[in-house]
Symmetry: C2
Subunit: 337 residues, 2 copies
């Protein structure tokens, strides 16, 4: 049974259309490749693929890869395929994330786990991972395989490290940043780096692009974590407040812990360490976070990483491509969905 | 908290020691490689790896790959690494299978999901998958990558097809065989085929080895499905009866459905299609299966596939290697654990 939902939000699409102008045809090639790769004769698989395409994302990782490729020499078939691998890997992790978070909505559409249950979703995530592996292997590009394999490992390690710190009030900002670097930022960084493959790029240029992607990715995840607390479900288009309920301690909570001292701090630490009464706990902590300067401080912290991303690009000079990458950063900071 | 369990069963180890004699040193190299690949500085990951090594299997897929390599020309570093990839892929699927089956025991040891929960297990399975990808990519062997990627996809597709037929009394033997071919037999077949890589093998020899692996794998899964119904938990070393509770219709149930006609058949079909009262349903159906000739008939069916596996090897002539592969088949048929 399909649960009727409002049509997906189109907020930001206008900005993106403009932003993606120069790479529009290449993004279309990535989409066509993904459709071809995921075509299946198996009707059950075909329906899973078709549903998952409803919450197709903004293809930001593809956009970064393609703009990076243009900066390094141009977009070739290799880059279109690599963007496809990155998107498949990203999709696989989203499907598994939704199972782990027991999320009900993604982009205002029922998650796969809500619609078909956890078994199907775990296996479909594995299937997407296998598809990424197959597409990547077919390129017969040793370095691409090595980079993408390592990135997939880092993403899992980041997620596992996050689990290891659940309900742990001793988590500090450094540890949090390391976790989001692995679980989120590494794939953005990899996307930028893959854009340089096939071209005789200057190592400094590759490093600049990777650093841009990494810093962008950290900012992106901080904003995502803030939106989980401040966002409106209808606007963000996915289940909110799951981090706290699941014991995931993100930057706003870490900042709150740092701000409160004495008996208030002790009480908060005990509350965070407990996995009882989750709804009340969540309401209480969200209230504390929302009433102070914490949200603004977290957004400023994200802004610092976006500044670092901008600085990383500076040596590459001014061009429509660097301008587009910078614009993607602003888009990420101001997104509400 | 560790739950104390009896020491793992050593049944079959004697037979295997003898069977693995000629490849013993190579199996040790595979083990050393896996330990090196899975070494982690991350203490949480290290504890997951360490626990998962407690239910380390019989390395049957490695044994097949190594014996196949000996038949084709000899065991090289490539084959040791490929055996490592196959074992990592197999381990990844076991970790996810235990989540999906809500299994509590594997080889008489707590499953990862029992010990650390589903989140950790899903991510650790993904991590093992990424490790398989990395090891495979490092070999820089285009054909190995292609074969293994395709095999991973087939395994997921088989599992998903099984979910699509849950609680469906219309499933027939042909469909069941197709599912177990994909989810289980394909990896055995792939292991045998990978043994030929790096050697100028006769296509007929590769085909013979692949066919042996495929038929062996089908027999192996039929026996596994029978053991889920007839086995004793203490002996088999894992949670039993989960197939029926989960709605997975395996050969014994399919045969029972075929045998019962008229109102008995109608009643059984209704019972199977229902996901209510699972414990009572399970007891009732298990009773019906155990009282007839069904278990023996299923084992005969497994025997037919083992015969086909034997016939496939015949063109390769008699050698210690073909003898060992045949012996693995007998071991699989008579295993109780």
């Amino acid at each position: 049974m399909d649960t009727e939902r409002p049509a997906p939000s189109t907020a930001g699409v206008g900005v993106l259309k403009e932003l993606y102008g120069p790479i529009h045809a290449d993004i279309d090639r990535v989409e066509a490749l993904l459709r071809a790769e995921l075509r299946s004769e198996n009707p059950f698989l075909a329906s899973l693929v078709s549903h998952s395409q409803k919450f197709q994302g903004k293809r930001m990782r593809s956009a970064m890869l393609l703009y990076s490729a243009r900066l390094c020499g141009g977009v070739t078939d290799l880059h279109v395929a690599l963007a496809g691998v990155v998107e498949l890997l990203h999709s696989a992790t989203l499907v598994h994330d939704d199972v782990l978070d027991e999320a009900q909505l993604r982009r205002q559409v029922d998650t796969l786990n809500r619609r078909w249950g956890n078994e199907t979703s775990v296996l479909f995530g594995d299937y997407l991972f296998a598809k990424a592996f197959i597409l990547c292997s077919r390129l017969n590009h040793h370095e691409a395989n090595r980079i993408l394999g390592r990135t997939a490992q880092d993403m899992c390690e980041g997620e596992l490290s996050q689990i290891a710190t659940k309900f742990d009030p001793d988590i500090d900002e450094e540890r949090y940043l390391r976790i989001i670097e692995l679980k989120t930022a590494r794939l953005f960084s990899t996307a930028c780096r893959l854009g340089s493959l096939g071209w005789e790029s200057d190592p400094a240029q590759i490093e600049a692009l990777s650093s841009y992607g990494l810093n962008f990715g950290i900012a992106f995840q901080i904003i995502d974590d803030v939106l989980d607390i401040t966002g409106e479900e209808a606007e963000v288009g996915k289940s909110l407040g799951t981090d706290l309920s699941k014991g995931k301690l993100t930057l706003p909570v870490i900042r709150l812990l740092r701000n409160l001292s004495g008996s208030d701090g002790q009480e908060l630490r005990a509350l965070i360490a407990s996995s009882d009464n989750l709804p009340e706990k969540r309401t209480r902590i969200l209230g504390l976070i929302r009433q102070g300067d914490i949200v603004a401080a977290c957004l400023r912290r994200a802004g610092e990483f976006l500044d670092a991303a901008r600085r990383a690009l500076r040596p590459l000079g001014d061009s429509p491509e660097t301008a587009a990458l910078l614009e993607l950063g602003s888009f990420a900071l101001h997104r509400r969905a």
